[in-house]
Subunit: 165 residues, 8 copies
Amino acid sequence: MNSPKVAVVMGSDSDLPVVGRALEILDKFGIGKEVRVISAHRTPGMAVEFAEGAEARGVDVIIAAAGKAAHLPGVLAALTTVPVIGIPVKSSTMDGLDSLLSIVQMPKGIPVATVAIDGSENAALLAVQILSLKYPELRQRLKDYRKQMADDVKQKDLEVRDKLT
Amino acid sequence: MNSPKVAVVMGSDSDLPVVGRALEILDKFGIGKEVRVISAHRTPGMAVEFAEGAEARGVDVIIAAAGKAAHLPGVLAALTTVPVIGIPVKSSTMDGLDSLLSIVQMPKGIPVATVAIDGSENAALLAVQILSLKYPELRQRLKDYRKQMADDVKQKDLEVRDKLT
Amino acid sequence: MNSPKVAVVMGSDSDLPVVGRALEILDKFGIGKEVRVISAHRTPGMAVEFAEGAEARGVDVIIAAAGKAAHLPGVLAALTTVPVIGIPVKSSTMDGLDSLLSIVQMPKGIPVATVAIDGSENAALLAVQILSLKYPELRQRLKDYRKQMADDVKQKDLEVRDKLT
Amino acid sequence: MNSPKVAVVMGSDSDLPVVGRALEILDKFGIGKEVRVISAHRTPGMAVEFAEGAEARGVDVIIAAAGKAAHLPGVLAALTTVPVIGIPVKSSTMDGLDSLLSIVQMPKGIPVATVAIDGSENAALLAVQILSLKYPELRQRLKDYRKQMADDVKQKDLEVRDKLT
Amino acid sequence: MNSPKVAVVMGSDSDLPVVGRALEILDKFGIGKEVRVISAHRTPGMAVEFAEGAEARGVDVIIAAAGKAAHLPGVLAALTTVPVIGIPVKSSTMDGLDSLLSIVQMPKGIPVATVAIDGSENAALLAVQILSLKYPELRQRLKDYRKQMADDVKQKDLEVRDKLT
Amino acid sequence: MNSPKVAVVMGSDSDLPVVGRALEILDKFGIGKEVRVISAHRTPGMAVEFAEGAEARGVDVIIAAAGKAAHLPGVLAALTTVPVIGIPVKSSTMDGLDSLLSIVQMPKGIPVATVAIDGSENAALLAVQILSLKYPELRQRLKDYRKQMADDVKQKDLEVRDKLT
Amino acid sequence: MNSPKVAVVMGSDSDLPVVGRALEILDKFGIGKEVRVISAHRTPGMAVEFAEGAEARGVDVIIAAAGKAAHLPGVLAALTTVPVIGIPVKSSTMDGLDSLLSIVQMPKGIPVATVAIDGSENAALLAVQILSLKYPELRQRLKDYRKQMADDVKQKDLEVRDKLT
Amino acid sequence: MNSPKVAVVMGSDSDLPVVGRALEILDKFGIGKEVRVISAHRTPGMAVEFAEGAEARGVDVIIAAAGKAAHLPGVLAALTTVPVIGIPVKSSTMDGLDSLLSIVQMPKGIPVATVAIDGSENAALLAVQILSLKYPELRQRLKDYRKQMADDVKQKDLEVRDKLT
């Protein structure tokens, strides 16, 4: 339990293209990870087992992605005090609004840290920010990552200025 | 188990004013009932115990009311094959849309029979309609109830015609 | 009338691709079925005739699918005490919100058991859950079906863990 | 049948405060009227009888007001070729959006002329505009009414200019 | 002015594919028509001239289609007492909700008879229903048209029953 | 025409409580003003006359407030090249969304500078920012105003820190 | 600083296709321009530097385009008294509603002049209208541009009348 | 810096009633706190100074509450790698949807951990869950708190069962 560990759970393997972008970022920061497909509705027992054991398995943060009436993040959050980050996945109707409200509007007592619809990069980055409380070496890597993002914008800025002014 | 039985569950006792209107209708039809306060998030273990034991306790139909990210109906539905009717409760923000979408947009595999926002009368009536498959004597009572509703409208119609034409 | 029977009605034959997924599930459970195209607006007389005769024809549950200002489920529900399950069909505008609200927001007195937008699998499964009150042998088949769903998720879970951890 | 006649129907007598403002305008224009309380769901037979007989009773235009899953205007429109004007009534949830979409989003074939949420004055004025095709004397009264409205605005304009400039 | 005449106006020629379906129906009913492209915003003078002259040109009903902040139907309605039917056109954002609200939510005094988003067939049929007050021969044609629609549904019903039961 | 002048127009005198907050700010900056009640729908001729003459009367900026299907700002903008700022006024239904979309979603060619729902203070401040292009002395007053706003926040910050830390 | 100058800023170079249509219009009116890629979130320092220096660099108006939680226009507006025009960019979810509300609903004190979702042509035209306060020669060019737009509509009107009447 | 510290920032002192419920919970858990009023728009410099110095001041987590176009949480998040929790505050229009989308829909790179509209209790509890990574003694307190919440529900459940069964 001396190295950071994030569990990434999706409600269906069809969420993998969205979730995959979170996994890449976790890898880039060298974060250990569990990746799981668990349905709050079709495999409720697995959800209980997974969440109740998370702390003992050394999981520091849980990222959960789900669509439609997206109960997975809230269901997991109810079963552990490990922080849960929720990714609302856009499905074929309602443009993601159903997923977003089902995740973010958690009643008093059990929070889910919600990011944007399909916002898996930010879910991973938020996990790293949270982990940096316990693993301070991550904070510098976050600053480097931000610097890289800023440099990318600056590069684009130069290209656009060259092309258009 | 030879008489009809409906379990009515609310996510918080603050939902009682809404749920109360369902209880009155169940009483009017002489339906046996369990009334419970169970939070999917604050008492997940109670939710599991309640739902997994429902069939054995002779529960024919479950009515579950909840607000905001209203997971209770879906969480119960995942744990039993007893039909679950969901009542989205309007809370202080989003005018009930969050509750509605969190209940009705259940992913493939685990349905919740959803009624209108704050629609507890209809939840009870739907329960009675479902019960009438097993307890045919209820069907006549439903027809009488509908006749009474129609008569009430007709009475109002006469009053309005008298007053306004 | 000794075997289960579900009537599946769609407002237009263009709803068939959505409704077809409900029919497959009913077949899988061995449920007898009537399949109809009836428009609440273009063939109101057919709707009356169909709904008023449903009980006598031995229909246990009605599933009705419609889009836009989707009145069909409510119109049928007003004419019979057989439980009506409504499927809001997404049409070319409003992403299904119009269909959903037109079906779920039924006024006091006449309920429609509403499932997700385009949620025809769940409409069929809800019908089977309701039927199992009268035909108890269906309950075991429902449990087997749920076990199969859970096994599918577990299989996907294993595949994802293999591939990504 | 030589004098104009509008039928004004509401789904519930609780809609009377909204509908009353339409009645006043019809009276101001000297239009004959039928006023009815008919529920598409609780008294479907009355709705059929009312709508199918409307033409024979000399009804030129129907105004129908309803809330929530507001099927009344569409149900009436399906049963007569007399033009139907729909008033979406705001109810206790969803701020009238459910009523609006349930009325305006009518599928191809059966139109309802929809006005604003709670827009009963405009429903009455639209009825008069439609009637003026058959009863040309109404057109001048409409022009006088518009002139009066314009004069009222001009009066307010003068008052505001006096007070604030 | 002894034959029925409908003016069909669109805010941009890009609305022609939507509006075209209204024109076909008007032709089928033998209604005389004016077809115009007039922008409430880019050609406000044309809008004034068109609307103020409509009655004198023998226009019985105006159909106006527009998208986004769709002011055209309301602007025309303010300038004539000829009934105006509004078609909200879906544009590239907001799924038609902007057009719908901009047309249907007209303030007190100036109504627009609004149909569904992209609902041009219904706009034309509503025009014919309105025209039938003045031109009674249209009423029979409307009844025939409805019978044809019903027959089409019945034919589809038979095909679906053959194929699926 | 050597001093700044803003015309403030409201669609109805019931908008005065909202608009009043804009007038106070214009007074604070010493901006000359015209205040008018003009309805795009009930007094379309006044709207044309007002907007076409605005430039000649020395109006630099127009602020127009309206609710529901709020056409006034767009109608004025179509008739003058003077910049028009639109204030969507919240009315009794739809929570201001109808007004907002009717104003902000202007089609290509005729812009309206839209501020927040009921955002009249910002409408006035935006007017002053625009005026400062022509009347540079206003820029310093804007900076002073901003400093005052910042000082107010800092004062509140001190109070809250005192009370709560 | 004797010639008009508009700064056009986008939150990401992926907004260039939208923003490009604004640049073309500015070029057509001969307006000098700065074009920049600046992210309020990834390059906050650049945003501060850009906005605080805008007035000194002779920028008369800023146009800022951004999507999702679109803070860029508001962040820039907080740092300068130069008028800021905001373009909400539609992104992959929520159909632009998130961008629109994040830009238009600015709290009291700091306005952003918001145009339609993806409405970059109107952003440019609004900028020119604002510039015409300081550079009166632009007003005639605006009138010519409007005349050209009107002529285009009239041409389309003639074509449609030829083809369809 | 050896004790947990949360900074709680609100965009306006009018947010204090909402934010106050978060402060109570932080106090209950014995968390050190900074409480500030900082406006992203009216005091942008204070926002920069506050956020850039947060890490050095020993702040572990930031909670930021704001309404309408609620930029504050995102603006702070852009300036520090300390995790930022956003509370969307419901304001007088749009029922909190504007605040929610302005906070949760953050673009790629800078996450904000969003909780429910007006969900300040959950913001505080999420902060404690995050802090427990670094201060493990908090985890037990969280478990006790959850047990207390569960006991409260169980007590209500008993009361309701007594009263209603």
